[in-house]
Structures are given as C-alpha cells and as structure tokens.
Homo-oligomer: 307 residues x 4
Amino acid sequence: MSNIPFDKILGEIYTQIKQTPNEGNVASYIPELATIPRDKFGMAVVTNDDEVFFIGDSLEKFSIQSISKVLSLAYANSLIGPELWKRVGIEPSGNPFNSFMQLEYEKGIPRNPFINAGALVVADVLLSHLKNPEEDFIQFIRAISKNNSIDYNLHVAKSEHAVGYRNAALVNILKQYNNLNNDVHRVLEFYFKFCSIEMTCVELAQTFTAFSKRDQAFKYGKVTLTTSQVKRINAIMQTCGFYDEAGNFAYLVGLPGKSGVGGGIAAIQPNHYSVAVWSPPLNKKGNSYLGMKALEWLTDKTELSIF
Amino acid sequence: MSNIPFDKILGEIYTQIKQTPNEGNVASYIPELATIPRDKFGMAVVTNDDEVFFIGDSLEKFSIQSISKVLSLAYANSLIGPELWKRVGIEPSGNPFNSFMQLEYEKGIPRNPFINAGALVVADVLLSHLKNPEEDFIQFIRAISKNNSIDYNLHVAKSEHAVGYRNAALVNILKQYNNLNNDVHRVLEFYFKFCSIEMTCVELAQTFTAFSKRDQAFKYGKVTLTTSQVKRINAIMQTCGFYDEAGNFAYLVGLPGKSGVGGGIAAIQPNHYSVAVWSPPLNKKGNSYLGMKALEWLTDKTELSIF
Amino acid sequence: MSNIPFDKILGEIYTQIKQTPNEGNVASYIPELATIPRDKFGMAVVTNDDEVFFIGDSLEKFSIQSISKVLSLAYANSLIGPELWKRVGIEPSGNPFNSFMQLEYEKGIPRNPFINAGALVVADVLLSHLKNPEEDFIQFIRAISKNNSIDYNLHVAKSEHAVGYRNAALVNILKQYNNLNNDVHRVLEFYFKFCSIEMTCVELAQTFTAFSKRDQAFKYGKVTLTTSQVKRINAIMQTCGFYDEAGNFAYLVGLPGKSGVGGGIAAIQPNHYSVAVWSPPLNKKGNSYLGMKALEWLTDKTELSIF
Amino acid sequence: MSNIPFDKILGEIYTQIKQTPNEGNVASYIPELATIPRDKFGMAVVTNDDEVFFIGDSLEKFSIQSISKVLSLAYANSLIGPELWKRVGIEPSGNPFNSFMQLEYEKGIPRNPFINAGALVVADVLLSHLKNPEEDFIQFIRAISKNNSIDYNLHVAKSEHAVGYRNAALVNILKQYNNLNNDVHRVLEFYFKFCSIEMTCVELAQTFTAFSKRDQAFKYGKVTLTTSQVKRINAIMQTCGFYDEAGNFAYLVGLPGKSGVGGGIAAIQPNHYSVAVWSPPLNKKGNSYLGMKALEWLTDKTELSIF
C-alpha cells in the first residue's frame, strides 16, 4: 500500500485547478471534440497495489486519441520485437508533431512511434500480423483494463478520417518510401479507429498500470512483454511522449507519459502508480493546459519523480 | 550503504568490454585527442554513501569536453535562475549536435543548453555575471569534487580554438540574433577552456554525485541549487544529454547522463549513485562506443534504471 | 524566313548525339515509360515563319509529362489572370522537384506552377472553372497545334495514378492548407491525365510556337493571353522550368523551356523559333541527358540565346 | 544608334516615380547607409553605341554593395575558368539570401556566386590568385568604366565589418567545410571592401555595358572573358541576381540584373543597352522598391525584354 496520501493530494490539486484560468484551447479540427465543454476536469491515480483515487469528471468517457499510440506500440513490440526499430526510430522529433520535412529528410523512417507517421507504421505492422486487427486490439485493451465496455467511437473515427488530410499525406509519403505494406486507405482507417477509443480517467489510469508495474508480468491476452521491454516503452514515453514539448514535460513533471488532443494525459511513476488526467483545452504545443499543471503539482506534492 | 555488488559488476563489465570489438573511432579533429590510445577503458561508481568503486584506467586524466556543459549549466542556473530559459530552450534537438539550421529556424534561441550553441549562451551568461570566470568556474568544480588538482588543459583549449570554425560560426549567429552579450572571441575562449577540463573517471563520478544526491543540499562554494533545480537538470540530461542519440540512450541505458567527444560519459541513478566511464572511440553519433555498452550492461546487471 | 540553316545544324547535332555515350537513365517508376527504347532521339524546330525542320525519331509520339504544365498554366492564366499568383508563387524552387519540406515551410503555397504541387493547384483552378475539364483542355492543345490527333493516353494516366504516392501526399498537404477547392482524388485524376498527353517532337515544337510568337495574338479556342502574359510565362519557364537545374539550363542553353520525365524538352527563342527534343534517358536532376546536350549545341551553333 | 527614345522614356518614368508612394525601407543595419535620404532617385541608360541617358540623382555616388558580386565573379571566372563551379553552384537559392541552412545542407558549396556565401568563396579565389587583390580589383573596375575616380569607401567597409556577424558565421562554415583557402578574417576584410565600392548611376550603367556588349571583346586590363562566358554570367544574373525574388524580377522586368542593399540595381538588355537605377528604400525581399518599378516600366515602355 502506498504511503502517499493521494486522496488529499488530488483534493488539493482539484481546488487549485478550479482557481486557475485555463489558457488552453479545445482542439477544433475534429467536430466531435470541438463540442466538449472546456471546463471538464478529471484526475485518477491507480497505485501498484491497485488502490484507486479519483476526483472531478473521472468517470466520464473521453477520446484518448494519441494516448492509444502507447498501446499500439506495446502490441506491435510484442508481435515483432526489435524488428520494429528497422521501420521507426526512437529519437525525439524536435519538431512539430506532423512534420513532413522530417519524414522526407529521413527517407520515410519516422523518428519515433508516437509522432503520427510512426504510429501509422505501427498500425501497418498490426494490420500485417493480426487476423482481426480491430477486434484483437480492443480485446488487448479490455484485457489490460479489465473492462469490457471499452470500445471505439466509430463516429469520431469516421469524422477524423474525413478531414485527415495531414495523415493522408503522411501515409502516402510512407508508401512512397516503401515503409508501408498495406493499402494506404486501410492503414488510415485502422489508425483513426484506435485514436477514437474512449475511456474514463479511472479506466485510463487502470490501463497504464501495465507500464507502472514494470517488474510484474506484462501478459494481457495474446500480448506479452518482458520487464526490459516495458522499461524501454517507458523510456520512449519520456523522450517522445509530448510532441515537441517532451523536454518541458520531463523538466516540469518528470514522469514518462503520453498526451492526446482530446485533452487526456496518462503518466506513470515506475513501480509506484499510474495517473490519468483530463482537461480538453490544449496549450500551443497540443498538450492539455491544465493537465500539465495538475501533473506538475502532483510530482511537487508527492516529492517523487523519476529524476 | 548500497546493497548492489558494484565491485563484482564492474569486474564483469570489464571482462566483457575486453572481449568486445570496438567499432568506434577516436575523434580526430582535435590533435590532442587524436593521439589518445583507443584501448583505454576506465569506469568508476560513487554511491550516495560515498563508497567508491572503479576498474581499468580509472585514475588516468582525460578531457571531459562536453560533459562540462552540465557543470556550466548548473552554475548559470544558480546565478540567474529561470531567466536562463528565455535565452536557451530545454527540448531535445532531434538533429546533429552542431546544427546551424535549427539555430536559424529558431531565431538564435538554441534548443537546449547541451548543444554547442546552447553551451555558448551559458558561457556568455557566466562571463556576464562572474568577476573571474575561469577562476570561479574551476573553483566550483574543485568544490564539488573535493579535489584541488582539477584544472583546464590550456594546450587543448588553444588547439580546439584554432580549428573551431563550427563554434565560431555558431557564436556569430547568436550574436547576429542578439543572444550574446559579450564579445564573440571572449565567449569562444572561455567555452573552449571549460571543455578542456581534465578528470579521471573517479573524479568525474565524484563530481556527478552532486546530481545523484538530489535530495541533499547542492551547495558548493558560491553555487547553490534547490532539489527541484537539480531534478530538472537531471531531466535535461535525460532528454538532451546525448546529441541526437538521447532517445537511444534512454532506451538502452535509462539513466540521465552526458557524454563528451573525449570518450567520457557521466550518468546518475538519482538517489543511488553516479557513474563515469571512459573509452575514447566514438560511435557515429559522437558518443563513446564502449561507454554506451558498459552503461547498458550496468543497468541490466543492477536491474535498476529510472524507468 | 529565318536565315539560320536549321537543317544543317540539326544534321550536325544528330551526328554528334549518335557519337555521345548516354549517361542518363530512363525513368522507371512508370511501367509504360520504362519500356521505351533508350536510344530514341528526335529533334524538331518550328520557326516563327512556320518553317519546320526535324531529324531522327521526330514523328514518333512520346509522353510529354510535365511539359504539359506550361499549357495548363497558360489556360489557368487565361481564366483567372493574376488571381492565380495568390495560390502559387513564381520563384525557382531551389530544391528537388517534389519537396514536401518547401510546401510545409511555405504553408501550402507552392513556389511555382511547374513543381508538382504548383501544377496540382493549377489543375484545381481548371477543374473549378471548366465545364468539361478534360475535353476543354485537349481542345485547347489541339487548337494550338492545329492537330486533332493529339490526345491523352489513359493507360499511362491510370498507371501513374496507381503508384503516384508522392503526388497523393502533395495534394493532401495542399488540401490541409486550404489551397485546393476540389476533391483530392478528382484533382489527381485530372493532373495525371494531362501529364499523359502524347505528342511527336514536331507536334510539340509546333505547340510551343504559341510562346515563341510572343508578339502575335495568343488566341486558341477559348484561351487568350496578352503579349505581356506570354512573356511572363516565358520568364517562368526560364527560372523554373528545369526543377533544381533551372540555373544550369539557363547557363548552358540560355533559352526558356520545360522538360518532362518522358525525356522531352520544349524550348523557345522568343521571336525566332521553338524547338522540341526527345531522348528518354534522364540525368540525375530528372532532365533528358542528351536533350540538354542537343539544346546546348543548338544555341552554340546558332550563336543565339536570350542572354 | 538605338532607335528607342530613352530620353523621353526616362522622363516619363521619373514623373511616375515622383508620384508613387515609396513603400520600401532603407537598410538600417549599416549606419552609413541608414543616413541616406530616402527620396534619392537616379536612373541611367548606356546603349551599346555608347549613348548615355540619365535623369534625377544620377551623378551622385552611392554604395553599390552586392552589385559588385557580378564584377568579382567576372574577375574570378577570368582567372580560373570553370574550376570555379567546383566550389560554388549556379542554381537559384530559393531561400533568403543569407541562409545557413542551405550551406549546411549542401556541405559548404554555396548555391550561386551572388548569395553572400558564394561571393565569399569568389573573394577567396581572388585572394589566392591576385598579388594585390584590392588594387587589382579596383583597377579592373576602373578599366571597364573608364573612370579612375571609382574607389572603395573604407569607412563603410570597416563599419559593415564591425557588425557583419552573419558573414562571419558564413565564412566560418565555409572554412569548416574546407571551401576556403585563406584566413577567415582576410576573406571578410576583402569582401567588405568590394561591397563598399561607390559609383553614380551613370558610372554603374557604363560599367555594365561590359555585359550588354556580349558580342564584343570583354578585355579590361588583365581580365578577359569569351562571349560565351559573358552570356553565362548574364544567365546567372537572370536566375540568381535578386535573392529570393529572382523569379519575380524575371516575371516583372525580364532582364538579367543584380541589386544591392544600397538601393542600386544594374541590368542589361543584351546587345542593346545597360541600365542602372538607384533608390535607397528596399522592399521586403531586399531589393530597391522603386528601382524594381522603374525597371518594370522601362521594359513596358521599350516593349523589349529578353523573353
């Protein structure tokens, strides 16, 4: 049992958040996300002893978006191991998260699996190795979270696909450089589906215990990873999880994590706990404005970070 | 007292290293470095209980080069605090370590204090705030390492300065963008001096306990940092310490650290120990080829990394 | 009547060409182009007095590919005049001809109408303003060339479309930046069609007299341009007609012109003549290896260039 | 004798210019240039029959700045011929005129001799091959212009050198890439000197007849070029003479030319005439705002351009 008073800490953070002007803006390019009330705020912690703490709108579903890239990476890593690193790098991008420049400069090898181009390659790997990609992937997530209600939001997926010109460009560049084995449209379709997965903060924190419990067996359905593999996914979260703000997140928060344009962030203190926070308005770098603050205060108050 | 058998582990690593073909190349652009025998290898650990373990050529001085950038950053941070971040970023560069492109694209604000341009800005800060920059800086390092023998190698400094066209270009770009207050030649002179500092592995590991002992007072001579400031320097080491191989180092080793073209690497396990390794031949990214391996084995054998 | 002995000059060039090792390579990414015999060579001159000179395989049809971009530009310019320059620039690209980088850097405004991205915008303009784009465009070309046999090769168009991932990426980037009004697939379809137009050297030279006769009325079917507009299209050919070899072409040949990956080049000496040359193997910059040589010799022998 | 009524045309242009609001800004980074009255305007034409026409402030000296790059190129080309093209390209830059990016991307080979990096390489060539570079160079220019009063303004040269951080960066990058044989400081010193040359519009137009008289002997003192070499310099002026506005100048004016930040532009109609115009305020691309307009009107009124 953790001796950190998470209930007290979450309460304090919640009070502070409610007094903090939100300088972020809700992502507007996806109609379904644009309508989410900007004052939603939820935060949940799940310790490695399976204690659950939460506050605010933590039982409300939201679109996890790019946070799903950690889960698709874990699955692909389980399927093909280090072969994956021949097709996608593990270095921070150092540039805005959708850069065509970088992909061209590096001849179709995305810098890491968390930029869109990298996640498209990961989607391509899953498509090549899974019989029923959509079904298998959601079953994996349900197995981690022990929650069969988790699902895609096909309406959001379709809506994103319809205006997803940047991703359509990226997938064609990958194909041009021979770093895509499946049809460009099929890859996009699958990619947008797993971005559309919806979870509550509690479910998301629960899901990320798979990474905070790095020393325990990572075995969920057909997906298995070694401790060393989990640690390395954590390392990639640290260096690449926040677009071109990864350094800032390491500096301010000091935990491996991953954000999504839906306003969610999942993070972990290895061997201690996982945490999920949700607040839709994003800062200029595309990460949840209040979510970043809440996590900064969390590591301040717990006096615990990986550094 | 640490319960990790560092003496045994260092012994094993040393045996493995001696059996590993060295695919690296010694940096040749500085005549003084080019002549160092390529089979030198030393490794030293200093625990937070001040136990010292070492093996190989660990008592031999080498040029710490860019590792000194962590120390100049600490000093500048102590002097002007967060003001520093208006003149230099904290994001990984995602590009080769001397990139003119990035500096131009970001209008003279270097991405982080560990790329050369960033360290030149840090040098400029020290020059503006110290009465006797060279003297004050070396006294700071002697205070950390409790070792008055540590000094500049003025011959190396002069030799680097003479062929340092890349850094001369960078310092002029910084000046052009009004991100340099002192004379370009003076900044270069000071920069090359602190790159020329020489230490043994034992001295270097000893010096870096200032960062592994993050919860203890960081107070060395006139330089003081809070725990939070030390943690944040550690975070910057993690995301930016290895040029465009920071992601790979996080992935393989999983410790905050910093390398230098002299073949040295210093790293820390926060709250546990600091480590220094030295092997002159560098991999293609400019980091010690065997040094990287030795540290990867260290975190494997200790089953301890920050992730 | 021109007093230049073009018959003699073409004869000399032909002899020289047959003795020159061809260091170029036939474009292989389009199956239909890859099968063209590499030793094909044709060259035709049409003077402003309508005298026609030709040699070699000048009566054989080939795929004019990007040369059609001059014609689509002329049509779009006739339709919307200088409004066009709000959506596409007139500066040389200074980079390889398909650069995603540049398009991103310039926020979806292609540098000029002769790089692929620019020609896609031009295609979008034609689609928005023509009732029957394919029909209207081919009728324009038939009107210039006074030749009703000129047509699309739908087999080539379809074949290029199937593997046209680069162009698919570009068209999506344009759409992303709101510089495309029509459906991405429709724009690509039309673009590949007008790239697939086939002409003989004689037909191509005949067609380009519309630009060498700059002081006469440019009025072909519904398409009309002023002398000033024609001169300006000629200027764009000069500065942008040869991908990132425009400077070299100006230097060696000194005539406004445009090349295509089918191995064709059309060029003009304003107020004197137009010339077309065809030799499938391309140099490293994507321009016909022997075609460049033939035109260099032509301006040497005629002692006439615009400079 | 030219049958174009240049006196009448210059008069009309002058009247129009005086009625045109000047939207340009005088270059402010060089103190000596910043003080020039912004309403100065001069324009001079010298025909190939040596007729001279001029209007406005055409007998007042101004700093020709980058226009001198055409003259240094001619001299270097005379000295080492095509060897020069191994060290500097002939393609338009497609980017702002001082780009570090491009120089790094192309490994120290400047794109053309008219961007600063290219002109620094040309200066290096002259330094290597001339006994008394400053003296020999000014004698060459005096020989062309038949005017012994033409000279450097050493005050301007020194003033530019003192704040020339961009050029200091470029020269160090060139040295780093081994594309500079002389000392960086010496190259800069010479470069700034030939930028500081002062001429009147009449003198400048007179000087550029060396390029408009392409079919006559180019032989001035020790400097000789063939007709073909002169044509090729003219071609480079056309594609590279106006920074990243070369395409626009070709489009609007249609003459080979070169501009300088002092507000001067020299241009030629091959085989007809040369023209110089001077108006200090620059447009956003760094070219004389009214100078561009005056030349556009000149080619409109003469109905003569190379296209």
